[in-house]
Amino acid sequence: MTKVGVYVCHCGLNIAGVVDVEDIANYALTLPSVAVARHYTYMCSEPGQRMIQNDIRAHKLDRIVIATCSPRMHEETFRKAVSEVGLNPYLVEIVNLREQVSWPHNEEPQRATEKAKALVRMGVARVKLLEPLERQSVSVEKNVLVIGGGIAGIQASLDLANAGLKVYLVEKAPSIGGRMAQLDKTFPTLDCSACILTPKMVDVAKHPNITLLTNSEVTKVKGFVGNYEVTILRNPRFVDEAKCVGCELCTQACPVKIPDRFNENLSQTCAISIYSPHAVPKIATINPAYCLKLKTKNKTVCGKCVQACEAKAINFDQEPEAIQLKVGGVILAVGSEVFDASRVLEFGYGRFPNVISNIEFERISDASGPTGGKILNPKSRKPPRSIAFVQCVGSRDKRFHEYCCRVGCMVSLKQTILAREKLGKKVDIYVCYNDLRAFGKGYEEFYRRARDMDINFVAGIPSDIRSTADGSLYFDVFESGTNKLLELHADLVVLANGLVPSDGISKMKELFHVLRSRDGFLLEAHPKLRPLECSTAGIFLAGACQSPKDIPDTVAQASGAAAKVIDLLSSGEIELEPLKAVVDKDLCSGCRICESLCPFVAVEMKKEEKDGKEELKAEVIEVVCQGCGLCSAACPTGAIKIEQYSNKQVLAQVAEAFPAAAHKGGSHR
């Protein structure tokens, strides 16, 4: 004989303020099989939980209904509570009297109470049909794949490696360091970016638990949380990594000049070169699109680098190499890209050489950059007498990207301070802005510092930027503080073009079936409470690929994501929720509808032999299945169903929703 305990929570006044909780509890007692019914202010509290546990022991209750807030809040709490006194945790049914009754119907307390009673009645009917379920454990690989070698990937890798996990850090460029390696100084401390970054880069290279795979990309992913199989393609450098000593004699000998991507094409490098000034690993790489030998596939051509290389490290016969790895978790740290400011045609970027972007200014200001750290006009190569910054280029703009890029204001502030420090009083510096966002720790003080350095803040954005014959620029801007229309002349204009989703993000979506938010960045599982992970189990997020952010937030998120991975993998196994799809093979016709519908790729078709014939049967990969129910709804034979959501169980609830109708048609008790 089943004995059901019903507990009605007041939830303070959230529920009790609208419905009559005592009435509901009394009503519950009239229902068949209900042995105990109580109401209490906070069921999820310690005394509330103890009340349930005591009743289970005293009355030998074997099914529990808790009428309270959404199961998303405390279902886990109550499952734990009942399992502590020996009752299977999956024999608990949560009835939602808050989000589904008291909150939406707060203006009709009487009708709300009737609805609450109906829901409790439905819950009691269902809980009697629930079967005990066990959580399954599956072992996991204690290895982690980190994709992206910027500061996010670097930080996460170090945290994971220090915790004892084995890390594979994959970076598509020839060196790690990412965007931060391109920066001169960082706000708000004006730390030299390379000085704080390079020690971490070296740590990564030296760490015994980290395998650094640069010039590489992830090409294939199979598997599920705890057990991913990834294929990594190592693109050939055409240089033997074991032999190259980073002396750069090859670069000096190479006759082919190409735009230097690391310097944002402001200078040139050669077809064979070391990627960046502080490259890790410091190994030369040949760009096959430009190298004469590789481009023409002519073995007799050029070869000057081979002649120059004393270490005999150059190898034109290198092929791409595919590596297979097994990892338990993945951190996506693929970063973002810079908005192409030439799309905002009215500002002349791309047409006028003295209109540059924030990142180009950064390379100019960096001592290891194209001008040796001197602030110079790209065209005349003379120091500018006047610099104008224009904010929000391509950001907060319905024509391009609606979101705020988060870093543009701080980057420009930093660059104005650097310009003032390097050029002294001889330069006029203006920032044309809309809102100046200095939100972080030390940021407002940094803004004050800029104002103290006599940097002019113009509250207004220009409509367009025009050029004179000699390449200097001028524009009109209405300054809303003084209400004056000002004509501004600048030798150099710097556009604060923001960050946008990169191609890397599209690739990650394809490989890992992760989702993107409306702005195009990778979607976190919950914007407030779960910002470090995707809704796909085992995939975590760090850095600008989730949303544009600065270095402090990136590092924090990276360490957080690493902690989540450690949490996931440290015990060597993970427990799975049993509320998954299961297939009754006898009913399965092999139609594959479930396989085609599953958004998590959690259904596999397996060949089985029956009576000498080969048949296809669906099989659920339990670790990947999220229990969404799509398959179950679509299955034409009813072969695949979700545990605890069988037709019988659901229809029992439906019958109790309209008992008058049920009586007409015959009850399903």
Binding site: E346, C392, R396, D397, K398, R399, N434, D435, A459, G460, I461, P462, S463, D464, F475, D476, V477, F478, S480, L485
Partner: protein
């Protein structure tokens, strides 16, 4: 709204603002975040002190009545740069046209030339009267002399229907 303009002692008039909204067919002046780009590039700013961002904000807050009876709304050169470059697609141009329509509805001051154009259209279909122009030799020329086709005026029925259209107010 609980605002008072202490310079003029005017209060916002949300009904008037609704009238502007009704005329705008979806373009949303509520989105303006005062980047001032429109005014920075406004063709009529230097000579006539037209500040599109100001008009946008005034209407946003509900200070419509004063604008509808002002001279400033008639200074727009309709170059459309403001709408073209606005990052929030809040078109000052369309707000100004709506204010002009409201001014006419309330019989506020309207530059004579517009009313003259309307009466010309009613009379003969065109907003302008055919002119004689001087050629290089200082001779006067007209359409006939230049062998251009005669102007075909609209049918009589046009006048009545056009008048009906002029009576139409947005719902």
């Amino acid at each position: 709204m609980s605002l008072t303009d202490l310079m003029s002692m005017a209060k916002p008039n949300l009904e008037s603002r609704e009238k502007i909204f009704a005329r705008l067919c979806g373009r949303n002046f509520l989105n303006c975040y005062l980047c001032i780009k429109c005014t920075s590039g406004c063709t009529a700013l230097k000579l006539l002190e037209l500040k599109p961002h100001e008009i946008e904000k005034l209407v946003n807050l509900g200070f419509v009545d004063e604008l509808a009876s002002s001279d400033i709304i008639w200074t727009c050169a309709t170059c459309l740069k403001c709408f073209q470059r606005c990052p929030q697609k809040a078109s000052p141009y369309h707000v100004i046209i709506a204010l002009r329509n409201l001014a006419v509805e309330r019989e506020a001051k309207v530059p004579e030339a517009y009313m003259k154009a309307v009466s010309q259209i009613l009379e003969g279909g065109l907003a302008e009267q055919p002119q004689k122009v001087a050629n290089k030799k200082m001779e006067t020329c007209d359409r006939e002399g230049l062998k251009l086709p005669k102007i075909r005026p609209p049918k009589e029925s046009f006048q009545t229907v056009f008048l009906k259209a002029l009576e139409e107010k947005p719902s």
